[in-house]
Amino acid sequence: MNSTMVADALKDVVDPELGINIVALGLLYGVDVQDRTLSVRMTMTTPGCPMAAAIAQMTAARLNTIAEGRDVQIEVVEDPPWSVAMLDDGARKQLGLG
């Protein structure tokens, strides 16, 4: 397992408000795969997002399906803050940004 495989799996996690997956939104800041742990560092589109807990839970649920016994750890950070520049092309199109 590597970071790319984890990121691919997290494309299944869709922000329920925006209808766009968290990887396309640029919410995924980092992935660390170790022998016993699978750690993900991520953010939200806005500070104090009411969806934060739900999205973290969805992410954990998806990671648990690929963790192969590893302990799943999720860290939600607000620094650096999310910005439009983090969107991928598909998400930009979905939001009408061209």
Binding site: K11, D12, V13, V14, P16, E17, L18, G19, I20, N21, A24, T45, T46, P47, G48, C49, P50, M51, A52, A53, A54, A56, Q57, M58, T59, A60, A61, R62, T65, I74, E75, V76, P81, W82, S83, V84, L87, G90, A91, Q94, L95, G96, L97
Partner: protein
């Protein structure tokens, strides 16, 4: 963050949903009262039907929506906690009973029943303020939105206390209720409680829903003290029934606060990343237009001399009230209810499945067309009502009442349809399990 820990942050669906489902019934009642209005409504804003309509809309429709929003968002945004469920349910029962009694008492002018209804409603507000204080962690520091809501709750307490004293004044003849004193009470509630809470929550929700940049808008820290001081000054001045020049000055202060907030929200909307507007975005745009109109009409009404416009003073007050209550506050809270209720239902029924199987998005839980029809029906009702009031056309006011009742019914149906969505009836078959849904 662990999933188990995260799950504790949101209050149960069954506890909060009844507030949102009950709220539109207040709009239905307000509309019915306008339909029943007689010709006196065009000569004074304190006729029984208009007082009943105002209190049904403000205490029923808008206040119940705000209560639900504070209970939902408080624990999530501020890590607060709620009182035991029975206290929340008891508050809802007290509130519905009190407001129903008050609206009936106003409509059929029974001052004893008004005092009783006012007492029940004030009791509900005491419970609400207590509960909300825990939900938002009232005395904690460090959040602009919390400061707005906290000050708004202070104004709610003052409004309820003054309103209750008015109810007993009518019943026992304690003191005369002049138009200035009525205006003081109305603005403590509308601009102090509703206005400040809506402004503060909008600083959180507009950028969140529209994906606006994280930068703080220019006047975000100025609007709160400006509005708070202006409303207190306005209420104190109006208590003495001052001359028009003083009224205009006091109204102008509140209008300036509203203008600064409108500038900020417009700035947030202009810089949004989400280019296409959804129901909440459209509601916000419509509400801003109504607020702008309300500010202009309100200052004219305060001048007491709109004769140059060939419009009678009291008619402008009615027009102003419709624009502010139904147009600005109403459209704002309507749009937010179409976001919050789908979130509640999703969180309560679909969240546990998310990440493991396809689940609907929030937008898919809402019947978008019905929600938009509701918004446009409300906007049309306010336009018809405000225009009719300003020219003294009673049939138009009654038509607006019927349209408001229709909007309330449609809002209720829209939210009920969301509330009925359940994983077993999940109709989003075909929602992709991976990537961007189509």
């Amino acid at each position: 963050m662990t999933p188990a820990g995260a799950a504790r942050e949101s209050p149960p669906l069954g506890l909060i949903l009844p507030f949102f489902l009950t709220a539109p019934l207040g709009l239905v009642a307000a509309g019915i009262m306008l339909v029943l209005a007689d010709a006196d409504a065009m000569t004074a804003v304190n006729t029984p039907e208009l007082l009943a309509a105002t209190h049904a809309a403000v205490l029923g429709w808008l206040s119940l929506s705000i209560m639900g929003a504070v209970f939902q968002l408080g624990p999530v945004l501020f890590s607060g906690r709620l009182l035991p469920a029975f206290a929340i349910r008891a508050q809802l029962v007290l509130h519905v009973a009190g407001v129903s009694l008050m609206v009936g008492a106003f409509g059929w002018w029974r001052t004893g029943a008004l005092a009783a209804g006012g007492t029940l409603t004030a009791s509900s507000f005491v419970l609400f303020v207590l509960n909300a204080a825990f939900a938002i962690r009232w005395f904690a520091r460090g959040s602009l939105v919390r400061n707005y809501v906290s000050i708004g709750l202070g104004f709610l307490s003052a409004t309820a206390a003054l309103g209750l004293s008015y109810a007993f004044a009518l019943y026992q003849g304690w003191f005369p209720l002049t138009s200035g004193r009525v205006a003081a009470h109305a603005h403590l509630g509308l601009a102090g409680f509703l206005g400040i809470v809506i402004m503060g929550v909008s600083y959180q929700l507009v950028p969140m829903f529209q994906l606006s940049p994280h930068a703080e808008p220019r006047f975000a820290r100025v609007v709160l003290p400006w509005m708070a001081v202006s409303v207190v000054m306005f209420a104190a001045i109006m208590w003495t029934d001052p001359p028009p020049a003083v009224r205009v000055l006091a109204a102008g202060l509140i209008a300036s606060g509203a203008a600064m907030w409108t500038y900020d929200v417009s700035w947030l909307i202009r810089r949004r990343a989400k280019r296409s507007f959804d129901i909440q975005g459209r509601s916000t745009l419509i509400s801003l237009a109504f607020l702008t109109a309300a500010v202009v009409v309100g200052v004219l009404a305060a001048s007491g001399q709109p004769a140059a416009l060939a419009v009678e003073h009291q008619r402008l007050q009615l027009s102003y009230g419709l624009l502010l209550v139904g147009g600005w506050a109403g459209a704002t809270l309507l749009g937010n209810s179409f976001k919050i209720v789908p979130f509640l239902v999703w969180n309560g029924r679909f969240r546990e499945r998310a990440g493991r199987e396809p689940v609907p998005t929030l937008a898919q839980l809402l019947h978008g067309r019905l929600a938009h029809v509701t918004l446009y029906c409300l906007a049309a009702a306010v336009l018809v009502g405000a225009s009719s009031a300003s020219i003294g056309w009673l049939p138009g006011l009654r038509l607006a009442g019927a349209m408001l009742s229709t909007a309330g019914t449609l809002q209720f149906l829209s939210l009920l349809l969301v509330a009925m969505r359940h994983p077993a009836t999940n109709v989003v078959a075909g929602a992709p399990a991976k990537g961007i849904p189509t």
